[in-house]
Symmetry: C2
Subunit: 231 residues, 2 copies
C-alpha cells in the first residue's frame, strides 16, 4: 500500500477532543499511516472538559507531513493569536499532500492563509467567520476543494476521515475500516443540524454560543487583519 | 439539573480510544457530570495505535460512580484476566445508577458477572461471546435492559451516550448536545454493518478478525469458568 504516510494532528490547549480522536481512530487504521500529535510547545494538551493527552511532539520538530489535520475547539480563539502555531501550519502545509480540518479547525486553516478562494466546511454556528479569511463557507458535512478536506462540527470528523481514506487508499479500504468500527450511525434524534433541530433546541444552543460570539469575532478580525498585512 | 453525576470510564491498556472518547465528548457536556478516567493501576493508558492518555485515577480509589462506562478494545482479552479490574467493576456497579459498555466492553461487563440474563449489544464480530456470561446477544446498535445500556462496535458509543443522556437529563438536553456536536452523520458508504457491507469487504475484515478469534474465545471461556466457580 502506502509506504509511509505521516498524519499530523496540530493540537492546542482547549481543543475539542472528538474533533481529532474521531479522525485519529479512522486514520490510524490506514495502512502505512503514522499518526503524530503535535502542538506549539510539545507539552500535553488538556481539553475544556479535562481530558489530558500526552506524548506530543513540538510542531517545529515535525519534519514530514502527508496529511495535516487541524481540529477545532474553544481554544481556537487563542490558537488564532499563536503566530508560531499558524506559521507551523503554513510550513507543514507547503509539503503536505492533503490538508484537513474539523469544526472550527477551518478557521485556523483560514487564519494561516491556507483557504483563500477555497470552499470549506465549519461548525454551523461559526461558518460565516470563514469569509474574513477569503474562504467560501459551505454547509456540506464534508467539503473537498482540491487537496483540502474540511468537515462540519465535531462528529463530522469521522465522515471526513473516511473520505480522506478513500482518496488515499481507495474505497475498499475505507469500507473495511467503516465495517471494523461499525460506523452505521443511528442518532436517537434528528437534532444534529440547525435546520432540523426543534426550534427551542436551536434557540437554547444559540443562546449559549452567543456568549462566545464577540470574543471569536474579534479574534477572527484580528487574524484576518494580520493576514492582509503580510499578503 | 443533576447536582453531581460522576461518570467513570474504566480503562485498560489496549482500549479502543473512540469507544470512550465518543461517549466522553457527549457525557462531559451533561449538566452536573464529572468525568473520571480510571484504570487498575492509575497509570496512563496507551491505545494500540499509540495514543496516550494521562491523569487517570486508580479504580480502587474511585468512591462515587453514577454511570459506569466500559469501552472495548484489543486489550479486552488481558482485561478479562485482570481480577482486580473485574472486581472494581463489580464494586462500582453495586452503587451505580447506570452501567454502560461500548463494543467488546460488554464482554468485560459479562466477565464481571454483571450481564446475567440481560440483553446486550457488542461489536458484531464478537457478539456471540456474550452467551458464555449468561447474557443475550442483541444486534441493535444501542440496547437497554433495565439500568444497563450497551452499544455495538466503536462508533456506537456516540449513539449510546446520547441515549443515556436523554434518560438522565431528558430528551431536550440530549438534543441540545447533539446539535452542539453537529451529530448528523453522513457515512460515505453503507458499509458499517456486516449485513450491509459489500461481500468482499466483509470477507476481508472477517479474515483479519480470524487471527484474534482463538485467543479471544479462550479468554472468554476461562473468564466464564471463573465466574461459574464463584457463583
Amino acid at each position: 500500500m502506502i509506504p509511509s504516510f505521516p498524519v499530523v494532528f496540530a493540537l492546542y490547549p482547549g481543543v475539542t477532543q472528538l474533533d481529532f480522536t474521531g479522525p485519529y481512530e479512522v486514520l490510524s487504521r490506514l495502512a502505512g499511516a503514522r499518526c503524530v500529535l503535535a502542538s506549539t510547545t510539545g507539552q500535553g494538551i488538556c481539553t475544556p472538559q479535562g481530558l489530558r493527552f500526552e506524548g506530543l511532539q513540538r510542531l517545529s520538530e515535525v519534519r514530514e507531513c502527508a496529511l495535516l489535520c487541524v481540529p477545532g475547539g474553544y481554544g481556537c480563539v487563542q490558537a488564532m493569536e499563536d503566530q508560531e502555531f499558524l506559521g507551523e501550519l503554513r510550513r507543514l502545509a507547503a509539503s503536505a499532500r492533503y490538508l484537513s480540518s474539523v469544526c472550527t479547525g477551518s478557521l485556523l486553516l483560514g487564519a494561516a492563509g491556507l483557504l483563500r478562494g477555497r470552499r470549506a466546511a465549519c461548525h454551523w454556528a461559526w461558518r460565516e467567520g470563514l469569509r474574513a479569511f477569503g474562504a467560501i463557507p459551505d454547509e456540506a458535512r464534508v467539503v473537498r476543494d482540491g487537496h483540502v478536506f474540511s468537515g462540519g462540527g465535531v462528529t463530522a470528523g469521522i465522515d471526513l476521515a473516511l473520505s480522506v481514506m478513500a482518496e488515499v487508499a481507495g474505497e475498499r479500504h475505507a469500507q473495511e475500516v467503516q465495517l471494523a468500527i461499525e460506523y452505521a450511525p443511528q442518532p436517537p434524534y434528528d437534532s444534529g443540524r440547525p435546520e432540523r433541530a426543534p426550534a427551542e433546541v436551536l434557540a437554547a444552543v444559540n443562546a449559549r454560543m452567543q456568549g462566545l460570539r464577540a470574543e471569536r469575532e474579534e479574534a477572527i478580525s484580528r487574524a484576518a487583519g494580520r493576514l492582509k498585512a503580510v499578503a
